[in-house]
């Protein structure tokens, strides 16, 4: 095998392609069940297995998996309470589902030959839109036009406000973009990097004496993989913390 062929075979973008496993459409809109849908389902099933099957015994002294479920629960509950206050706890089920789903999806995506659900901008953007819609709808429902105080920081003189209010509005509007791109780009970049280094290994192995160098990119992959594990957890955390922060804005719009 010559190096060019090997490089072509290990295309790092290929892993993000969608394969329609069960093509169908509803009212002319394509709703095929794809490999991405399959792994969404697996991530959801993972969450269900952790949170429902492992807790079915309701043991006072928990087993390992139940202890994990409880840790996750208390972690997210603490995060919501700290960031969005006690009133924010009404969004706890939403934030928890978001965090657990993204976390499990990210972790499943790190297993070779799986699909990373969160490497699709449309998925992360859908999440971001839901979060921002929730913030806007709840803010308007709770405070009416008072929600617009969000854009008017307290105790700032009028001339500064003229500049500041547009900035606040722009920053608010860019939230869904930054929220979705952060998660998407992190997962995407990590997977591309891993695939590229994997491609190096294949190329080196196919290049005669150069095969002796093949362990070098493998070591790099091991290190990167550890980093990606961190990124998978961290990005799920960042996404849900920011969700809490934005929800806090909806609950307490005055700065």
């Amino acid at each position: 095998m010559n190096p060019e062929e090997a490089a072509a075979k290990s295309n790092p973008i290929e892993q993000f392609e969608l394969h329609r496993l069960w093509p169908f459409e509803i009212n002319g809109v394509e709703t095929s069940f794809t490999n991405a849908s399959l792994f969404m389902l697996l991530a959801a099933l993972g969450v269900v297995a952790l949170m429902i099957l492992a807790t079915s015994k309701k043991a006072i002294v928990p087993g390992r998996v139940q202890a994990m479920a409880e840790m996750l629960y208390e972690f997210v509950a603490g995060m919501v309470r700290q960031t969005a206050g006690t009133e924010g706890m009404k969004f706890f089920p939403f934030v928890f589902t978001l965090f657990a789903f993204i976390l499990i999806a990210n972790l499943i995506g790190l297993v070779p030959y799986t699909y990373s659900v969160t490497s699709q901008i449309v998925v992360t953007f859908a999440f971001a839109i839901v979060v921002i819609s929730l913030v806007v709808v709840y803010g308007l429902y709770r405070h009416g036009f008072g929600f617009l105080n969000l854009f008017v920081p307290h105790g700032v003189p009028l001339p500064v406000l003229v500049v500041l209010v547009p900035i606040e509005i722009i920053s608010f509007l860019s939230r869904p973009v930054s929220l979705s791109v952060r998660l998407f780009a992190n997962i995407l970049a990590g997977h591309i990097t891993l695939a590229v280094f994997g491609g190096f290994v294949v190329m080196l192995l196919g290049a005669g004496a150069w095969a002796a160098l093949a362990p070098v990119p493998i070591l790099a992959i091991v290190a990167l993989y550890a980093l990606e594990l961190l990124v998978a957890c961290l990005q799920a955390f960042v996404f849900s913390v920011l969700t809490c922060v934005y929800l806090n804005d909806a609950i307490h719009p005055g700065h």
Binding site: I13, L18, E30, V48
Partner: protein
Amino acid sequence: MAIISSAFAAEGEQTTHETVGAGEAHHEGVFPPFQTENFAPQIFWLVVIFGLLYVLMSRIALPRVGGIIENRGAKIASDLGAAREMQSKAQAAAAANDENLRRRRDEAQGIGREAQHKIAAESARQRALAESQAAEKIHAADERIASAKTQALANVEQIAVDAAASIVEKLTGAKIDQAALAKHATSSN
């Protein structure tokens, strides 16, 4: 080196595809995450799956886990309360026991003291009795001694009179009237 540089070239090529979004790709040559025809199926399944997951979490999983944690907290609190109650009971029992012990000890000391007093009184009484008896005996003996002494003294007088009479008789050969001598002796006494 040639291999590695070609690999970098390949990577460089791909990065251009990413940024430009027009590569050799399989479907339309668009970077897969940006292929718009992929959006609808993903959103549809995301809504379905995430919606179901949200319902399962908010209806079943979270109330259950919350309940487990709450139950555990309540159980620990009630167990601690029971333990605290038992402890206070044990302390009360220990205090009652101490009190009982103290009272019994006082009682025992009282009994001992009483017995001691009784014994002391008894021995004092007996000693007094013995002393009075002894005193009586001493008194009787004294009397006896005194009577014996007076008797002895009377005898001594008689003996002296006799001796004086016999001495005078031996020296002078004259008989002395013993009655007169005894009278004299008694008056000179």
